[in-house]
Symmetry: D2
Subunit: 504 residues, 4 copies
């Protein structure tokens, strides 16, 4: 499977069927979507499904009459939507499988046109173009029409977004097994890409004046730094903060991707100062204190829009918006989490231990200090002690351990971000997202997220991906085409320390 740029918040939410980002804290979760409720669903028979599909997936019109065919009545689309929604998970898998296999491309027609195209090579351009056009038309999966008709019905676009979320779950684990489901996925993605083209999106600034419905969703969708209560929420849309979302005409009141920005004096190195400090809640913004825009949270809300570029465009639009509001603002940077760093590190330590050669990770001196600071039972291998410290986050309670580990964790983390790859691109999805956008891996920040979650995920480290506006385009290209990561001296310094130690 080709790795497409994803935002971390979405990737994780795609993993499990019907999981909703659990909304922690004092605010109760209000289930907004009726779709998830089934009143005692029963499994459907295969013939039942086949009969339905035969009825709702009308044949493609012939090439000649393709502009002349009136759309089928809306009732057909509605029937399919209603039926599908009433299904249990297993039945959904069945019907999507059937749909993608039985109503796919007419391979015979494609072959015939291919033959014809090869014949016509010698003839005039008009004929070539026409046969190509017929060939193009013949490559349309028959079910594509159904999808198009559904998109025209009220609520249809949202239905297809959710349908694709289901398809993505099927695709994820068993990529190689069902080429038809993959084709369905890519047909859906291509349709959604047209409908969610940036020209059709609306940038909305979310404030305390926005409808409660949308603010509640903003609150629910915030997976990066959970929002605990009204005050918390009010803070994130209050002074020295901006919250922007893309919405779409076909899904009113539904933020598609949400970007939270803090307006600060300097590029922030700590998230608690952004999400937990309320001194400024009722104050007026002082423009003179605003020199930097910190993107501290970006969340895609629609699993079904995976691979449809939105976050990238949102950041760019917001930069433009901020520049027009603050003409002299020159610093744009994320303050990003590093999900996966701790697990990666634990895995590394386990493996090192198993394979007996973990000593490279730390210098001798460092190992010694870890041992001294931990008071482990004598004989415990230092790797084990270290691993336990990471798992339990216990090291944070000791000032001494903390200062021993700082250089170690910082250079390991730098390596994790910069050096660990997947098909040549950064393994860490947040890094991959910002690097694709053309950001620079700019600064690792120690004690940047001291929340239990922050410590557990990334030993409290956070990273700034900085957007130098006149370099993003170039950076993006060399990253995507040459897989080269642009990083600051600080980051490169840590990386080279790591390499020296680990003799890589």
């Amino acid at each position: 499977m080709i790795s497409t740029p994803v935002i971390w918040a979405v990737r994780s939410s795609v993993r499990c069927w019907r999981q909703r980002a659990v909304f922690k804290g004092a605010l109760e979760v209000v289930s907004v979507s009726g779709r998830r409720r089934f009143s005692a669903p029963t499994r459907r028979g295969a013939s039942d499904m086949e009969e339905l599909l035969a009825r709702v997936v009308v044949p493609l019109p012939s090439y000649e009459t393709r502009d002349k065919s009136p759309p089928p009545p809306e009732s057909i689309s509605l029937e399919f939507m209603h039926y599908y929604r009433s299904l249990e998970k297993e039945d959904k898998i069945d019907i999507l499988t059937k749909l993608s296999q039985d109503y796919s491309v007419d391979h015979k027609a494609v072959s015939e046109l291919s033959v014809r195209l090869l014949d016509t090579q010698l003839r005039d351009m008009a004929t070539i173009l026409q046969v190509e056009d017929r060939l193009r038309y013949s490559l349309t999966p028959r079910y594509k029409q159904l999808l198009s008709h559904i998109s025209r019905v009220e609520g249809g676009v949202k239905f297809l977004v959710d349908l694709r979320a289901d398809v993505l779950e099927m695709v994820a684990p068993k990529a190689s097994e069902s080429p038809h489901i993959k084709e369905l996925n890519s047909t859906l993605k291509s349709l959604l890409s047209e409908w969610f083209s940036v020209g059709l999106l609306r940038l909305e600034r979310i404030t305390w004046q926005s409808p409660c419905e949308i603010l509640q969703k903003i609150s629910q969708y915030e997976a990066v730094h959970p929002i605990r209560n009204w005050t918390d929420l009010k803070r994130r849309v209050g002074p020295y903060r901006r919250c922007y979302a893309f919405t779409h005409a076909a899904m009113p009141g539904e933020p598609l991707v949400v970007l939270h920005v803090a307006l600060t004096e300097d590029i922030s190195d700590n998230i608690q100062s952004i999400v937990r400090e309320f001194a400024t809640l009722d104050s007026e913004e002082d423009v003179n204190k605003i020199n930097a825009a910190i993107f501290y949270s970006i969340s895609s809300t629609q699993a079904g829009l995976q691979g449809v570029e939105l976050g990238n465009y949102l950041i760019k639009r917001v930069v433009r918006e901020l520049q027009s509001e603050f003409p002299h603002m020159a610093q744009f940077s994320s303050l990003s989490p590093i999900p996966g760093f701790s697990s990666w590190l634990q895995g590394l330590l386990s493996q090192y231990r198993k394979e007996g050669w973990g000593s490279d990770l730390l210098s001798e001196q460092e190992w010694k200090e870890v041992e001294q600071a931990t008071d482990s039972a004598p004989g415990t291998p230092a790797v084990d002690s270290l691993r336990k410290l990471i798992v339990t986050s216990e090291w944070t309670r000791s000032e001494r351990l903390s200062s021993v580990l700082e250089p170690v964790l910082m250079r390991l983390c730098a390596w994790y971000l910069y050096g660990e790859k997947r098909r040549g691109y950064a393994l860490n999805p947040v890094a991959n997202f910002h690097l694709q956008n053309g950001a620079t891996m700019w600064r690792l920040n120690w004690r940047a997220d001291t929340s239990p979650r922050g410590v557990a995920n990334s030993c409290g480290i956070m990273v700034n991906y900085r957007y130098f506006l006149n370099e993003t385009s170039k950076n993006s290209t060399i990253y995507l085409q040459n897989k080269v990561i642009t990083a600051s001296e600080q980051v490169l310094g840590f990386v080279s320390q790591f390499q020296k130690n680990s003799k890589l």
Copy 2:
């Protein structure tokens, strides 16, 4: 060329380059679009253009990296838009020709994949699907990417709509000559169809409270029954009237297709009672007097959206809207002009005269009455007299002539609407539009449009296309597939009278 359903108002405006529906009457035309103004344009050199195209039309990424390529900077799209807008008509034709020819499909790649597809026939489905997907991708014209990128820029969608209007003008006269321009046209149409998919359109009711900007456009775009002044305009959005438009998120403030409805006691047989009667201007609507909804004007405003179904969907949405406002309303009908009837009739008479056998059109008795009523110079052939009467509209001044001609013109008109075809479908574009939507050709109305324009265009006759809601779907299908027109007894009666007379 395939005849696509068009609304009459648009078709006529497509005819000439840069023509705007002239806004007659007391209101001055305000030129809204800065785009049409050139400050001393100069012709551009071919190398100039080629250099630009080479720069702005980036190569398609390889199939493997197609999801990995960052979009080019917006500046490229903006440069092209700016350049194109600054061109004179001839240069526009040049650049569109170059673009469509030099940045079309890579025919070699298509051929190679066709060969591969035929080879792979023996192999597994996964491979077949993959090669088909590659083939599909290879069939993308290279310029399609540029169009997509433009759509993402502010004002980009509107630019492409206008660009297609230009392309349509080029296609119209010399359809067979440039297959590449046809391909560009069809690529554009398919993109626009996705973006203007009904799920993305917004129905707006236009009232006297709507922004002046939109009301002025409504006023300008009204080509069917021109709006003369504020009172006239206020009337059309006032009590017993409804005015609806589709707008689109990417073209805010721009009505795409406009439908004017009159709410009446019975199905109207006269347009002046709708557009000229002001008794009710300040009155309150009396729901008990509202039994019928008369669609008396529908105008598409964007020449570039020809072939993209909007009017059809607008009528259906409006019917739904009206049903929810007036649950007991049961009569839905158009009161439509018959553009082209007079010219068709004049052509017919000329031809008859030339070929010497026009006598069939009228009965002997009728010819006699015409002669008596006209007091033509002795010896003038009756056909000539009749033709002159039609051309000058003089017959309307004589009550006697008028009653002599009524049965004649009504049966000729019925024939023109019902019997005259173009590739099997109704020749008259308004008829074709409503029949495609599933309406019934319901009633011809004598003295229905007594304005000079109405008399000149269609001898004052208008026609109701009636929408029987539970039959439209069936009617539409049999019209589109079997070319069968559903008509009322009145219409069929006139048609058979015509046939009897003319011995057809």
Copy 3:
């Protein structure tokens, strides 16, 4: 002091300086008003104040030039507002006292004009009217001008509303002592009455789509049945519920009086079924199940608007609104709390005990049953047992006690509502409010509010004040003018039982 109609929720909040309705439950209180925060305030000197007042309270122009005097610069109003806001409570009392005494009416001028008026009695009407007009003008307190000018400044009207809240607190305890403060109060009330005249108010329906800012305030202001969390709040503006508020142009985003309505099949006899039942949260309203509108909470939010009729008008407007939405709805009723019943009852029992003659309240049989059911220590007087039961709410835990007490508490409660008076009007402020509006005291409901608060306040009893629309005007008049309460047979039945027992 004259008792003016007040809504209970306000009355209680007026009692203490700067108290905000504490917002209980899971939602944190967000302090909206910066006004309440002082950064280390210091007491101000008297001369300081006098100097300020001398500067900001400009002399009244002479009668002749009253239309010719330009308003003083805004800065003067702003200075006063700023100064006042910075004061501590004691200083506020000081400055209001000074203002009302030193810048009151010019008594000498009034006397002189009175003399002149008596002289002029013999002369013509024109002169009489003119002297009267001068007299009227001379009766204007000098500070009234300052108040008027403040109202013109942004935020000025809200400032005056809050100022009056301060004045009301001063007036409350020591009404007779400062006639000048009373005059200031009545001047303010009369100005506010003009500005908050119903023609200038805007009815807003609050929904889940309303701005979060306003919904949060709705949530905070709900003193009758506190809102605990988002789901709770969403419920109160969701299906089968309506929430309306009056807002005012000069105080945007600030609901002035809020009315919560439940749409039910029958007139509700239980509040939990309204505020705690969420079965219908996502359902569609079924119009056929909507026969009654229950006003289950009405809260004034501005202490400073006491005595300015808003609630009454809001109920009337909402009835109109509901009638236009549900033309066949015929039942309109409150479901109201009975604040003060328990305390009244406890007071009664104490007194009875002290005076030794409490036996009248219950029949012998009832006393016996209470004794049996309570298992009190032998020798404890039954009155004491009963009193303790009420204070602790313990009786609710015993089914037996509960059924013993039901008839007793119901008839006592009926008497409390119907028979207990203050200057001839119902003592209970909620009763007084609805009776003034013309409602009928319709039904007492046992176990209507089983929340701890409901049991503590009124032994769980609630009451419906029913609005028979064609009787409210008459009822209102006879209540206000003749102090006659309109009540249903049920209520009157309980009252007469009480009277029989207590031999009143």
Copy 4:
């Protein structure tokens, strides 16, 4: 009668009953108000009226119960409104006369309280204040209650505004005759002043996006420089222009006072360059070319709000608005018409002629030049020639005459504006308005309004009243209190030339 500040546009429209500013030019007048249409009205009998008034004007409650009286049912207010609207002019005069006389103040009660007040002089302050309060209450005309109740009904405030317009017409010609009508007028004015207090007004910027309804009204109400058509209207709300209005919550969609502003490089000296030049219609504003804000038209739209300060406040609010949009803008000035100058001049010349001593107005040299330039019949007195020139505007056609007359007319005009007074204030109403606001009479402009209307009204001269923001307050005070006009050297120079010539 005391002269209150009026805006010229209103004053003229008040003069005749029900006259609407005729809307000249291409746009038809749309009659917006159904109120003006009577279906065959018939005169009403006096008893009819008396009976109605007796029913609708309820007695004032006693002082003690004044806060306890429920408002009468709305139906009473509606009945009066309906009745009044159905009356013919003469009947309106009758009913207003009756109302003001028969339901006025209770003079006996006032006398009694006056006596009591004089008695109580010796007693305590509390008693004094209370008797004063009773006296104040007794000075309320009984009809004031009716007016208050009407204001609470939908459309009631607008009704009272229009009612006052009627009252003003009655007052105007025969001020001394009916003191009661004057009292009604002043009661109404004082109520309206409270309701239209600036804190309750909303500033709206009118653009081409505003509702057509409001733009059409803007167009109709523009009496100073009539708007001819859509383009004209679009211009006035387009780039380099601003149009602001105050609206009021109780009269939605109704602009109360409208201010047109041009944004220019320098202070304009010519009105045609503002209202007739369309070069910039579609251009973008260039902030660098905006140095001055020219108030070129201000119109009050509600005759009934005469004397209620709105224009003054609107100018101040707009200045603030412009300063926040253009922080560096430093020049604020009107470009104002001089209505009445020509008539004044003609009157002057007539009188001079009659009295035989007109020679002072021009110098000998000037008289000679006039004579030479006019080629009058020999013997025609020069005064006559001059007067005829002015009346016919013929002098504008001769370059020579024009340059002869320039100095003459400029100094006469300066005198007219500066020296001609009414009760000590500037006779010219526009001058009086701006001087009250604190503007400086800054510059007379020759050939500033070359429209026929401009030449006829003021020989084409216009004047800038300039607002030096830090002097307006002072200027306003010395004008209103000391009747001193602040003027520039240019103006004072012309004035002294005039004085020298005319030996005043």
